[in-house]
């Protein structure tokens, strides 16, 4: 009944994450992703119908969440020169990267 992760699943996930796995890394990853399925099976022991997901703990009662949004105002951001100083390759205004080639 428990779905098993395949090597193709691992390769697809790696592609999505822009990571390349070496051949010897793949079996370990298959194992790790299967462990995720075990975790999910455990969570499915709990009935959460009618339970809203908790993405922000600060929304809980007494947790100190902010009740209002800030004013929609433009304020200065980082100076461009400072930011571009950290770029691997730049013309000063843009980040330069290799050509995008259609697959």
């Amino acid at each position: 009944m428990t779905r098993k992760v395949s090597v193709e699943d691992v390769e697809r996930v790696a592609e999505l994450a822009h990571l390349e796995l070496a051949a010897d890394e793949t079996p370990g990853m298959v194992q790790d992703l299967n462990a995720i399925l075990d975790y999910v099976a455990e969570l499915n022991e709990l009935d959460t119908s009618g339970v809203a997901p908790l993405a922000q703990v600060s929304e809980l009662e007494g947790a100190g969440g902010a009740s209002s949004l800030r004013a929609d105002r433009v304020v200065p951001s980082l100076p461009r020169a400072l930011v571009m100083a950290q770029a691997p390759e730049t013309d000063g205004a843009f980040f330069k990267v290799p050509k995008v080639i259609e697959r």
């Binding site: 822009h18 975790y39 993405a55 969440g65």
Partner: protein, 488 residues
């Protein structure tokens, strides 16, 4: 300057208290510039053995120290941390100073801005010595995942300091800083504090700004202080806590005078002890030390009662799904485009992304990114990530119900004392408990303090974790200080 003589060399040295330093600097007995010099000398003597600091911010530190000395000389009132030497975990940015997050992918990166906590420390007069070693992107519990080599535990350099804030904990334990800042996502302040025998604080989620913290898991990450005693940890929290318009999750709730609150007696407080944290896998020496600590709370007039947290075991799958999913999203920005490492000679943009990430990230980071990507991928998001966030609400609500019955919940911070480098901890039950002890509070957003609570017969530190409800750091500090007082 020397530590105790034992069969294994130890580098433990207790820093002076903030109160003592304040007195000395205000009176002129100690010059902040000289004090910074003493700390840099000690760092020079010990860092090659302990690998605590990754970089030093000497110019900035000495300029700040000179400003403090000028204020003291004029007799001006001194800000709360005037002249205090502080270390900063390398996941927090200091403008113009290297910030690696313990990773090769940010080698050479110099951030263009200061983290809010850095600005606040400096406004309070602190002298920021340098950047502290940590597990890569805060992922790990032994500081063995740093791309720049492990940190060694000052108590026993053959052992780990814990992680991910291993450098932050070790620095205080070895008096290579008076206080430090670290970060905690699933235990990364509490566990190393416990392993190194120092105080560590997990502030309520949102209590301290995350602006300038290189993100791991945005709904879990917290910045918090380490110190050699509870009162000083409370003072540090008071300086860094408070609303920040640059952090949309930061809380507008008022900041208490935590140091003053920590002095208040604990008589009449109700202390909860959860059976789920005292089961198989807990080292008997750790258990004995914690039980002594609990007895001291009874002697101080607390009521100790059992509490039940039956959903505790679900914290592990919940944490692994939530933390890895959020990490995969946060680490997507490291792609070689705008900053950090870019792999040379990539023919296409797509190759540049994957080569830069492959070459820049360590194995554990890659592993967690892949797990998280899987949990979020199309077709699985609802069943995996969203399900975990629903269980998270159940876990949080269980804590809230417990805090209606008790003021604080106490547990061991770690089921085992510091293990040897390369060993991890052999017992799977112990590893399971190690996660349980800390990720539960992480998921619920509640606060806690870990306080030294004795040692094992072999001399390894044991920490007690004192948990309190959201924004009730004062209660946690009070109880922790009572435990600390009973140790002397």
């Amino acid at each position: 300057m020397a530590g105790d003589t034992k069969t294994v060399e130890t580098f433990v040295e207790k820093p002076a208290t903030l109160a003592r330093l304040r007195q000395d600097i205000a009176s002129g007995a100690v010059k902040a510039v000289d004090l910074a010099g003493v700390y840099y000398d000690r760092i020079a003597a010990l860092n090659s053995q302990l690998n605590v600091y990754l970089s030093l911010t000497r110019e900035r530190a000495l300029a700040q120290a000179a400003r403090v000395d000028a204020m003291a000389a004029k007799g001006d009132p001194l800000p709360p941390l005037a002249g205090v030497p502080v270390g900063i975990k390398d996941v927090l940015v200091m403008q113009g100073a290297p910030s690696t997050a313990g990773s090769k992918i940010l080698q050479g990166y110099r951030p263009p801005y200061d983290a809010t906590v850095v600005s606040r420390l400096e406004a309070a007069g602190a002298v920021l010595l340098g950047k502290l070693n940590c597990d890569e992107f805060a992922m790990g519990s032994s500081n063995e995942n740093s791309a720049y080599g492990p940190v060694r535990n000052p108590v026993d350099p053959e052992r780990v300091p814990g992680g991910s804030s291993g450098g932050s904990a070790a620095a205080v334990a070895a008096n290579m800083a008076v206080c430090t800042l670290g970060s905690d996502t699933g235990g990364s302040i509490r566990q190393p504090a416990s392993f190194c025998g120092v105080v560590g604080v997990l502030p309520t989620y949102g209590r301290v700004s995350r602006y300038g913290l290189i993100a791991f898991a945005s709904s879990l990450d917290r910045v918090g202080p380490f110190a050699s005693n509870v009162r000083d940890a409370a003072t540090m929290l008071g300086v860094i806590a408070g609303h920040d318009p640059n952090d949309a999750t930061s809380s507008p709730a008022a900041v208490a005078d935590y140091a003053a609150e920590s002095d208040r007696p604990v008589e009449g407080l109700r202390i909860g002890v959860p059976a789920e944290y005292f089961g198989e896998g807990l080292d008997p020496d750790v258990r004995a030390a914690i039980e002594q600590g609990i007895d001291s709370l009874k002697a101080a007039g607390c009521t100790v009662k059992p509490v039940s947290l039956p959903a505790t075991r679900y914290a592990i799958p919940t944490y692994y799904l939530v933390a890895t999913a959020e990490a995969s999203a946060n680490l997507a920005r490291f792609d070689g485009v705008r900053y950090g490492y870019r792999s040379p000679a990539s023919a296409t943009l797509s190759d540049m992304y994957s080569h830069s990430r492959d070459e820049g990230f360590g194995a554990e980071v890659k592993r967690r990114i892949l797990l998280g990507t899987y949990a979020l991928s199309a077709g699985y998001y609802d069943a995996y990530y969203l399900k975990a966030q629903k269980v998270r609400r159940l876990l949080a609500e269980e804590f809230l119900r417990a805090f209606a019955e008790v003021d604080a919940i106490v547990t061991p911070t770690s089921p085992v004392p510091a293990f040897k480098l390369g060993e991890k901890t052999g017992d799977p039950l112990a590893m399971y408990l190690a996660d349980i002890y800390t990720v539960t509070a992480s998921l619920a957003g509640i606060c806690g303090v870990t306080v030294p609570c004795g040692t094992t017969p072999a001399g390894l530190p044991v920490g007690m974790q004192v948990l309190a409800a959201h924004l009730k750091e004062s209660t946690a500090f009070r109880v922790a200080q009572a435990v600390e007082a009973a140790q002397t």
